[in-house]
Structure formats: structure tokens, C-alpha cells
Amino acid sequence: MNVVFAVKQYISKMIEDSGPGMKVLLMDKETTGIVSMVYTQSEILQKEVYLFERIDSQNREIMKHLKAICFLRPTKENVDYLIQELRRPKYSIYFIYLSNVISKSDVKSLAEADEQEVVAEVQEFYGDYIAVNPHLFSLNILGCCQGRNWDPAQLSRTTQGLTALLLSLKKCPMIRYQLSSEAAKRLGECVKQVITKEYELFEFRRTEVPPLLLILDRCDDAITPLLNQWTYQAMVHELLGINNNRIDLSRVPGISKDLREVVLSAENDEFYANNMYLNFAEIGSNIKNLMEDFQRKKPKEQQKLESIADMKAFVENYPQFKKMSGTVSKHVTVVGELSRLVSERNLLEVSEVEQELACQNDHSSALQNVKRLLQNPRVTEFDAARLVMLYALHYERHSSNSLPGLMMDLRNKGVSEKYRKLVSAVVEYGGKRVRGSDLFSPKDAVAITKQFLKGLKGVENVYTQHQPFLHDTLDHLIKGKLKENLYPYLGPSTLRDRLTPR
């Protein structure tokens, strides 16, 4: 179940099937992102794909010596663009791949536009999501809900993304959802609807344990995203922002031009692949190793290249050196910026208090620490607001809740209205009333003993004591202990019954 590999296989298949010759890859805005997450430019160049074009680009020239591989989402606009394209074909032959289910009528209108018989292939390849890591994908949707209800457009996009995911992994799952969330149920129903409708597509080899699609709502755990993280990828994402593996470094003071935007992809950056889940301290030492390695491999500047052999060695090592130099300077810059931000924003101290708010139940100490940090001028308004949000979520119903006082402190600190509003918003979003489960005070005996034992052992690392609620949920799921009254199955719990065509 490697999503990166799944998409990559689709793309490779497309290119392979088009045979030899110069090729152009015709994409839309979204598929461009999808492809760029799994393939590097040089990789795809080696497969004779030399041009990348947007189907909506007006500035395309007629190049009949190119084969076109179209990888498009089957949206209305794309179909229209494609119809226009086929009426006046710019390339010699078209291989059309759609990232999701296309309607029969759309196929018909495409066929009728292809008067010159340039289309050689029309297929659905379900790479309709952004594969971030082998086990993680995204649909890059910002704001999928209005209030507690789905934005209809986003609901349909999410459904398409999920069904494409299932198809690309060849899984026909049972669906469970979080009972407390209406949105989760709605999405589950939509996915189920598609599975029922396209039952022919979902005819996969049955496995002994049927795959499971568990739909969760973030409102069940509003805490985790509010915490500062200390692993490499998470830190980059939190502090610098990752957008389709790209990191914008243009705000970094004194950044050189070619490092304004860097790509961090575990697919072709070994160092990143090995370190993305390690914590900041470990990265520090690893990056040092990397640099030592680099120093060793670096051609010796002082050493004169005297003999032919020297020169040969230089030339032979050169590309490797070049590649390494790129990797080194990239990671050094990124880690350097991270460490600058950490000290500038006083994040170590902030994080400690955040963890305390998330994991411990000592109200007075927590309050005191939050108050102290709010006075600290180095703590940004964003971090300050987050601290108060965490406090508000945890001690929402505490008898001596002093949220109003903290809000005053925020105002005094000069935190803008925009951030201050978030405090009440987050409580409304993920407060006790909404949560299906209790994040802070475990109810069952096992969890209590666990916490007790944890308390006895002491904390290993104050910055990483918090464990996301998701961890528990998945743990329960794997052990078969996930409660059906909180996470019910959608429809009858055996899938077979639902899948038989009526």
C-alpha cells in the first residue's frame, strides 16, 4: 500500500505504453502536482518526455513530431479543453489518461471531436491524489467545510480522491467512520455510493481480512496540530511550510538565489529519506556526518591535478560531488533556518509548556507557565495564541478556569484580533462538547494505569511526550478494540452483501 509507488507506476505505464519517440506530457493544474510528487525531471527526461504542458495553456505550438500523453482529471473544463485540442490536434498522436471515472457521454463527445483519428488510447488511471510519502497522501484542499458541513465541491473532490486511492491500491474496503462527526459519515456514504455504482471496478481479489477505510474527523483531536513538532519533516512543515515537497526559503535572511525554493523529496534525497522522522537533535548530528562525508569526497582544492589519473579521478567523481554539494547546501540551509527560528521564537520553551498543557493535568503550574511565556517578548503572537488555545481546550471546564485573564494578557501583548478570535473558534471546533472521546482524562482502567506508569517512569523527552490521539485510535483498531458504538460500520459490516449487484 505504497501510494507514491502506486502513482509512479501509473505514470510509468503511461509513458511506456506510448512507445519510443519524443513526447509531451499534457496535464492540468492538479495532475501537474500529482506527477511532480513522484517523478523528478531528469527521471522523466530519460523516458523521452521532454515537454510538460498545461492543457489550458493557450501558448502551445503545433508540434506534430511529438506524441502527447494527456494525464487529466475528468472535469468538465478539461473535457472541453481536450475536445478543442482534438479538433485541432497539435501533436501527432494522443494517449489520453483520466485520473478518475469519466462519464460515458464525455467519452462520446471526445470521440466525436477526434475527426483526425489522433487518439490512440483512452484509459482511466486512478492517480487522483497527491502522494506525499509512501503512507501519506493529500488532496491539497484548504478548508473543506463550512461550519460543520461539507462544501459540496470539496466533498465530491474528496470522494473522488478516496475512491481513486482505493482503486490505485486495488482495495475494496469496509467503511467505518467517527460517529461524532456528521462530515465523516457523509463522506463515508459518498464513497460507498461510488463503490456500489462502480462495483465492476472494485472487483478485486478478496483478502482474508478485508481492508478497512476508517474516516476520522480532526475535531476529535484539536490538540495535536497546535503543538510544535520536533521531527525533521514535521518541523519543516510547521515552521517553513511544505507545498508539494517544495519549501519556500525566500524569507530566509541572506538566502542565495538558487536556494530560494528547494525540493525535499524522500524519493530522491537519501538524507531526507533517512532523517525525515528523526528528531531535531539527531538531525544535527547526522547533518554533521553528512558534511564530513562531503568534505571527504570533495575534490581537494589544494591538491594540484598533476597527472592524467588525477584528472580522470576528478572528472569521474565530479557529478557525484556536484550532487552531494547540492544536497549538503540544501539541508544545511534548511536546518540552519530551522534552528534560527527555534531560537528566535523561543520554541524550546514554548514547546515545553505546550507539552505540559497537552499531557499533564497540573492546572496551576500550566497557567503560571503560560502567563510567564505571554510576557516573553520573543514569543510570537502566533505561538502565544496557540498556547492560550491549548489552555482553553484542556481546561475548558476547569473550576478555576482563567481564560478571560489569559485573553487579557494576549490583548496586552498586542496579539491581533485575528489570532485572538481563534481561541474561541478552536474551542467551538474541538471542545469537549464536540469531541467523541476524552483527550485529557482517560476513563478506562487500562489507560489510567498506563498514565500512572508513565508518571512513575518519568518523561523521556519533554518535547515529545505528547502522543497524538490517532495513535490510540489506530492501536485499538489493530487490536480489534475500537468501539463500534464510537466508530460504527457503514451499512452491514460485511462488504460482500453490499457489493453483489442488484
Partner: protein
């Protein structure tokens, strides 16, 4: 695909990593690097330094709270973590995701549309052909009109009051015009004209799809293009005077459109742009490189190792060839890059982008592949390498031979030690203890003289003992013991098999050597010399090949010396030389001689001869020296060349390999034959035996509880349990069994067509038979 969106950023070529200056070649880059950057303390370095400090600081801060164990896990993580514990390579293999094809649907819909379209186009072209079939210029306009009207019925003027295209009303000024191709009506403005060359082109192209252009239609584009540009002005002038167009055919925009599309298709079919031609050449070159480069790398690697498999000249030729292809790739891609750059309307940016990308990928290709091309040694270097390798081989050979001899000597010592011990009655005195045990088992016959007892392998005794223990243990339900014992048994069996093979090899080798000796006596010195040279050559060449660990090579090498002398032996027999005949005579009664006339020479049974001179000596042909090892040791340096590989290889390499070869069969039959199961490599039991013989008297086994004894890891402590006098007949039995087994293997191997195995097995069979015969002779 970092810069998928803006490939303009992509820079290619030999860029300096520090200043990004593009240098045209490796050498320029190199010299540039040397000149510009040799002294600089690099920015990167400085940056790195400050970062290390920062990272360290941060780390320390974190570590303060974490404790040391975290740090350790961190350093481990650098090595072992991939995806932070998520290693997708550990996941189950993943096939291509689901796909669904709409092609057939698509084609169905398209076919319907295309049929319509094609019919339409063909109709127009047929009409066009009719319209151009006569000489227009020399025909009266009235007649033309008549013909034109006959081609397609014209629409009635009265039916069309307005121009269907622009909607203008027809009147005296704005007259109706008929399309000659479809008969419809349009106004002057909307009317289009088709020039004769274009018409010709369209009709001729559809007539024969091969479409060899005739000269008038060679440049229809330009003619047609220029006319088109002036259509309006021309027609406006002419229209006033005369409506007749000599060389043009009136038609409506729709028909014209259709025909133009058709023209475009024809053009595309024939026209291949320069870039395509160049690109095809480029791809051909790349394919060539993909073909040749691995071959060259193989050669270069071999040559650099000093091997003589490939010739240096050939390799350097190939190198030059490959390099030329690289140059060609470079040149071609450069040409593609600059294609059309100097044209007046500069090419479309996308064309340029395409060219840049092709060049970039070509550069990547060259960089990746060319740098993998290792250099060749120069002639002098090569000679040196060869010499070095030869020396090394020689040294290895000597070392191996020494080791072989050493091992042999040790083996002998041990055996004689054992023999003497047996003779001293050490074992006999111990026999009182285990006797009841054996009796209880009742399967070990107590017969045979002590002298013959020595003859049998101590390993076999051991094996028998252990099997009996296993049986007892099983009977007693001690599964733990059974398991341990079985493990021991297997090890023993391995060892025994190995020993047998070694013995077999040793014997065949000696046989060959003896034959050599024999030959020496019989043949002229010159002939012998020639023979030696030949063998030496053979041995040497084979020896180099054994480096590859190819089993077949080794075996053929191992068998070679045996086979080779055989022919000579036959030759010798032909000559009727007396020593050969006399030596053959005593052997004839042995059972093996019928199958294996060559076993004449196995009389001296190399190893056996050493241990039991008294029993075998009488039968021996006296000619071969009794102690072959002495012979070998004393052999002259010239002889060493021939013997050393023989001595070295068979005792190590082939035996192990042959054992491996056995495996599948042995395991198949393991149930039936517990004595041949070389499953796991046995620890050398002889060494253990060496350590323990003195303990034996002090640790007599407790007869009442054999299981405790059995669990001990050293099976040789049990050695004392079995009386040596019982061994001889068992071994005979075993040998027979073994022979049967091997026969079965040979049959099986033949059935499967594994000829090399058959060979090895036959060799083994011979060996066993010989041993059996000898033993029988001994008991008799």
C-alpha cells in the same frame, strides 16, 4: 521534477558547481576549477561550520533533557532508519493499480463520426478530380459551367435569398456564387478559391497514397499560400470584368476548410522536421552506447585485473568506438539545441524548450554513462598487471598445495594414531562398558579382526553408535536427546561424505600421477616433456578459470588429469609394455575391474596404502612409490607446475562443490539412507577427536544411562562405546548401500540430463567399488 513549471531554470552542460559558469568540456571545467577555486575557502564550508555549531548547540540543549539513550538511538537511526521505520520496501509487492479502458467505446463513437467525415472528404475530392480532369484554360466558360453543373447539382438561386454565411441579401450587386464542390450558394465575399496545384495535390495524394510528388505540386504550399493572401483583391478586380477563373475553382468556405485540413494531413505525412531526423540519430547512438558500454566495462574490468580473457587492443578499439559515439551524441544534441536559432522569425519558445530539454537529457546521459567508463591500462601497465596476477596465482597455488599437504599429513597422523591406539588395546579395554548397550540393540555384529577394524572409518563407527542411541532415545521417548543426537548424526554424516569425496578425489589424482610415473618409464623423455608442458598449460588455464567459481570448470579440471593419462595408458597397453600388463593382472579379480579397467592403478589406494601397508602391499604393483606425498614433495620445480594445482584444488574446491552437487539427491533419499545427508557443514570432528582421546579412559560411559552421554556436544566421546572389531562388515554393508545409492543417483541424473553430475557420480561409484574390492581382498 523540481522545476517542472519553469524549465527555463534548468542549466545544463559542464557547470562549475561554485560559480555556475558553463564550461564547454570536462577539461575546461577542470582547469577552471583548478584556477578559480583552488585557493578559495569556500562559502559552503564556512556556512557548514557555523551550522555544525548551531546544530550541536541545539542538540546539546535537547539532549540535556533526553538522556544519553536518545543520542545513541539517534546515531543508529542515521544508519538503519529509512522513512523513520516505515520501509516501503518491506511491504508486500504492489501491482499496477486498477485501470479501465474506454478505447473500444471511444472508437465506436469515433468510427461513426469518421465514416461521415471520410465520406464527405472523399466526395469532395472525387468532385475536385472531375473538375480538374479537363483542360480548363482552353475550354469555353459555358462548357466549363456545364461540366461543373454536371459534377454537382447547383442549388436553385431562388431558394437562397441571403448568403448563408454572412447573411447579406443577394441582389444585382451582391450576386450569387455557387460552390463547385457542393453546389451551395454564397456571396462573393464568402467565396473561396482552390488553385489547380492544390487540387492536383489533393487528388493525386488520394489516388496513390505513396504520393510521389510531381514538380508542380512540389511547392503547393507556397503557391497556394501566396494566392490565398491575395484572393480578395484579385477576385474583386476580376469579378467586375469576368467571372471566369481559369485556374481556380470556386467553392464555399466549408468545403475549403475540409480540403485544407486534408492538405495539412498530407503534408504532415510526408514532412519530417529536421529535429526528428537528428533525434532519431541521437536515439540510435544512445542505443549503441547501451549495447556497447557494458561490454566494454566488462572488458576493462577484466583487463584491469590482469586477466587475459580479452585482448587489450580489442578493448581499446571498443573504447574508442564508444567514445566516438559519445562525441556523436554530444554533437547531435548540440545541433538539436541550435536548430533554427538563426532563423528570422525565431522558433516558438516551446520548440526551443524542447531542444533544450533534448540537449539536457543527452548531457545527462553522457555524464551518467561516460563516467562509468573506466580507463584501460597501458600496454606496460597491462604487462605488469599480468605478471602480478600470475605471481599471485602462483603464490595462491603454492599456499593451497601446502595447505592440502598439511591437511593430508594431519589426517594420516590421526589415523595412525587411531590405529596405534586400537592396537594398544585402549579401545578394547573400554569395550566392556558399552557392550551391553550394543547387545540390547542387537544390530551391531561383533565380528572381524581388530586389524580390519582400523580399516573402517572412525566416523562410520560414530554414525552407527549415534543411530543406535537415537533408536534407544526414541524408544525411551526422550525427544530432546533424539534431536541433539540427530543433529550430531547429521554433522557426522556430512563429515563422512566429505571425507569420502575427498578420498575419491585424492585417489583419482594419485591414480593419474601413478600413470604419469608409469608413462615416464615407458615413454621417451621428449614425449614426457611435451606432455608436461601440455598439462601445465591446461592446468594453468583451467586454474585461472576456476576463479569464477564455476563448478563445471572445476570439475572438468579435476577430471582432466584422470582422463588424460587414461588414453596414454591405453596407448601403453597397445605397446604391450610389460609393467602395465603385470600391474593389470592382479587386479582382474576385483569386481570393479570389470567396469573400470583403469582401476588397475588404484591398487595402491593412496590412503589405504598408508594405513594398511601389510594388507595391501602384497597386491601392489611396486612401481609407483608407496608414499605419494613424498614423491610430490620431492618433485622437481618443473613438475610442480603440473602437480600443484592438482594437489591444491581437489582437496578443497571440488570436494566441497561435489558435495553441494549431491545435495538434492541425498536429501531425497535421506529417509532411506541415513548415512548420506550432508545437510549442514560439519565442524571438523577430527580436531575434537584429537582433543579427547586421552579423556576417554577417564570418562567411561555409564551404561545404564546412555542418554546423558548422548546429549553431550562432542559425539566422539561416544567413540569408546563401540568396539572397533564390529566395524569392518558394517562398512562393507554400508559401502554396498552407498554404491546402490549412487547408482540410483546416476540413473536419476541421466534421466534429468545432468551429464556433469553423472560424471562426478560415476567417479564416486568407481571409488566406492574400488574400496569395497580392496576391503574384500583385505578380509580374504
Amino acid at each position: 521534477m523540481a522545476s517542472l513549471d519553469d524549465p527555463g531554470e534548468v542549466r545544463e552542460g559542464f557547470l562549475c558547481p561554485l560559480c555556475l559558469k558553463d564550461l564547454q568540456s570536462f577539461y575546461q571545467l577542470q582547469s577552471h576549477y583548478e584556477e578559480e577555486h583552488s585557493g578559495e575557502d569556500r562559502d559552503v564550508k564556512g556556512q557548514i561550520k557555523s551550522l555544525v555549531q548551531k546544530a550541536k548547540k541545539a542538540k546539546n540543549r535537547l539532549l540535556k533533557r533526553e538522556g544519553d539513550d536518545r543520542a545513541e538511538s539517534g546515531t543508529q537511526g542515521y544508519e538503519s532508519f529509512s522513512y523513520g521505520g516505515v520501509d516501503p520496501y518491506m511491504w508486500e509487492p504492489q501491482e499496477l493499480g486498477a485501470v479501465r479502458s474506454h478505447l473500444s467505446d471511444f472508437k465506436k463513437h469515433r468510427a461513426a463520426r469518421i465514416d461521415h467525415y471520410v465520406v464527405e472528404v472523399n466526395k469532395l475530392i472525387i468532385r475536385l478530380e472531375k473538375l480538374t480532369a479537363f483542360d480548363r484554360t482552353n475550354t469555353e466558360s459555358a462548357k466549363i459551367r456545364a461540366i461543373e453543373k454536371s459534377v454537382v447539382p447547383w442549388v436553385n438561386d431562388q431558394d437562397v435569398p441571403f448568403c448563408p454565411d454572412c447573411g447579406n441579401k443577394f441582389n444585382i450587386r451582391n450576386r450569387r456564387h455557387h460552390c463547385r464542390l457542393c453546389g451551395s450558394i454564397m456571396c462573393k465575399k464568402c467565396m473561396e478559391l482552390i488553385s489547380l496545384p492544390l487540387a492536383n495535390k489533393l487528388t493525386s495524394a488520394s489516388k496513390d497514397s505513396l504520393s510521389t510528388h510531381t514538380s508542380p505540386s512540389q511547392s503547393p504550399n507556397s503557391v497556394h499560400g501566396s494566392r490565398r493572401g491575395s484572393i480578395s483583391s484579385m477576385s474583386s478586380v476580376s469579378s467586375v470584368l469576368d467571372e471566369k477563373d481559369d485556374d481556380r475553382i470556386r467553392c464555399c468556405t466549408h468545403c475549403k476548410d475540409t480540403l485544407l485540413k486534408r492538405e495539412q494531413q498530407i503534408d504532415e505525412k510526408e514532412h519530417t522536421p529536421d529535429i526528428v531526423k537528428l533525434y532519431e540519430k541521437l536515439r540510435l547512438c544512445m542505443e549503441k552506447v547501451d549495447q556497447k558500454a557494458p561490454e566494454y566495462i566488462r572488458m576493462a574490468a577484466s583487463l584491469n585485473a590482469g586477466e587475459t580473457t580479452y585482448s587489450l587492443e580489442h578493448a581499446s578499439d571498443l573504447r574508442v568506438e564508444v567514445q566516438k559515439v559519445y562525441e556523436l551524441i554530444d554533437a547531435l544534441s548540440k545541433k538539436i539545441l541550435t536548430l533554427g536559432l538563426n532563423q528570422d522569425p525565431p522558433p516558438h519558445p516551446n520548440t526551443l524548450r524542447l531542444q533544450r530539454m533534448i540537449r539536457y537529457s543527452a548531457t545527462l546521459f553522457v555524464q551518467e554513462k561516460l563516467l562509468g567508463l573506466m580507463s584501460l591500462p597501458t600496454k606496460e601497465q597491462f604487462e605488469e598487471l599480468k605478471k602480478k596476477r600470475k605471481q599471485e596465482m602462483e603464490r595462491k597455488r603454492i599456499l593451497e598445495r601446502q595447505a592440502a599437504l598439511e591437511a593430508q599429513r594431519r589426517l594420516e597422523e590421526r589415523r595412525s594414531d587411531l590405529a596405534s591406539r586400537a592396537a594398544n588395546g585402549e579401545v578394547v579395554s573400554l569395550r566392556g562398558g558399552p557392550a551391553p548397550l550394543r547387545k540390547a540393540e542387537g544390530w551391531l555384529p561383533l565380528s572381524g579382526s581388530q586389524g580390519q577394524g582400523e580399516d573402517s572409518d572412525p566416523l562410520l563407527q560414530q554414525i552407527h553408535n549415534i543411530t543406535s542411541f537415537i533408536r534407544q532415545a526414541k524408544a525411551a521417548g526422550r525427544t530432546d536427546e533424539v534431536r541433539t543426537l540427530q543433529e550430531n548424526l547429521r554433522q557426522l554424516q556430512d563429515e563422512y561424505d566429505q571425507q569420502q569425496t575427498e578420498k575419491a578425489i585424492e585417489m583419482s589424482r594419485k591414480q593419474a600421477e601413478e600413470e604419469d610415473l608409469q608413462r615416464e618409464q615407458l615413454q621417451m623423455l621428449r614425449e614426457r616433456e611435451w606432455e608436461r608442458e601440455r598439462e601445465q598449460f591446461q592446468a594453468a588455464s583451467l586454474h585461472t578459470r576456476t576463479r569464477s567459481l564455476d563448478f563445471r570448470e572445476i570439475r572438468s579440471f579435476h577430471l582432466e588429469p584422470g582422463r588424460e593419462p587414461r588414453t596414454h595408458f591405453a596407448h601403453v597397453l597397445d605397446l604391450g609394455s610389460s609393467p602395465a600388463q603385470s600391474s593389470a593382472a592382479p587386479k582382474s579379480p576385483s569386481p570393479s575391474s570389470a567396469l573400470e579397467p583403469i582401476s588397475v592403478w588404484s591398487g595402491p589406494q593412496a590412503l589405504g596404502q598408508e594405513f594398511f601397508p601389510q594388507s595391501t602391499m602384497s597386491q601392489q604393483n611396486e612401481v609407483p612409490s608407496l608414499n605419494l606425498f613424498d614423491e610430490e614433495d620431492l618433485s622437481s620445480p618443473t613438475a610442480e607446475g603440473t602437480t600443484s594445482p592438482l594437489a591444491a584444488e581437489p582437496s578443497f574446491g571440488p570436494s566441497a562443490h561435489i558435495l553441494k552437487e549431491y545435495n538434492p539427491f541425498e536429501e531425497e533419499e535421506a529417509v532411506g539412507n541415513p548415512f548420506t545427508n550432508p545437510d549442514s557443514p560439519a565442524p571438523n570432528p577430527f580436531e575434537e577427536e584429537d582433543e579427547h582421546p586421552h579423556q576417554r579412559p577417564s570418562s567411561p560411559p555409564v551404561p545404564g544411562n546412555p542418554f546423558e552421554e548422548a546429549t553431550c556436544t562432542n559425539p566422539f566421546e561416544m567413540d569408546s562405546d563401540s568396539g572397533p572389531e564390529s566395524e569392518e562388515p558394517i562398512e562393507e554393508e554400508l559401502l554396498l548401500q552407498q554404491i546402490d545409492n549412487i547408482k540410483a543417483y546416476i540413473f536419476d541424473a541421466k534421466q534429468c540430463g545432468r551429464l556433469d553430475e553423472v560424471e562426478v557420480l560415476t567417479e564416486n561409484l568407481r571409488e566406492l567399488k574400488r574400496t569395497l574390492a580392496k576391503q574384500k581382498g583385505g578380509t580374504d
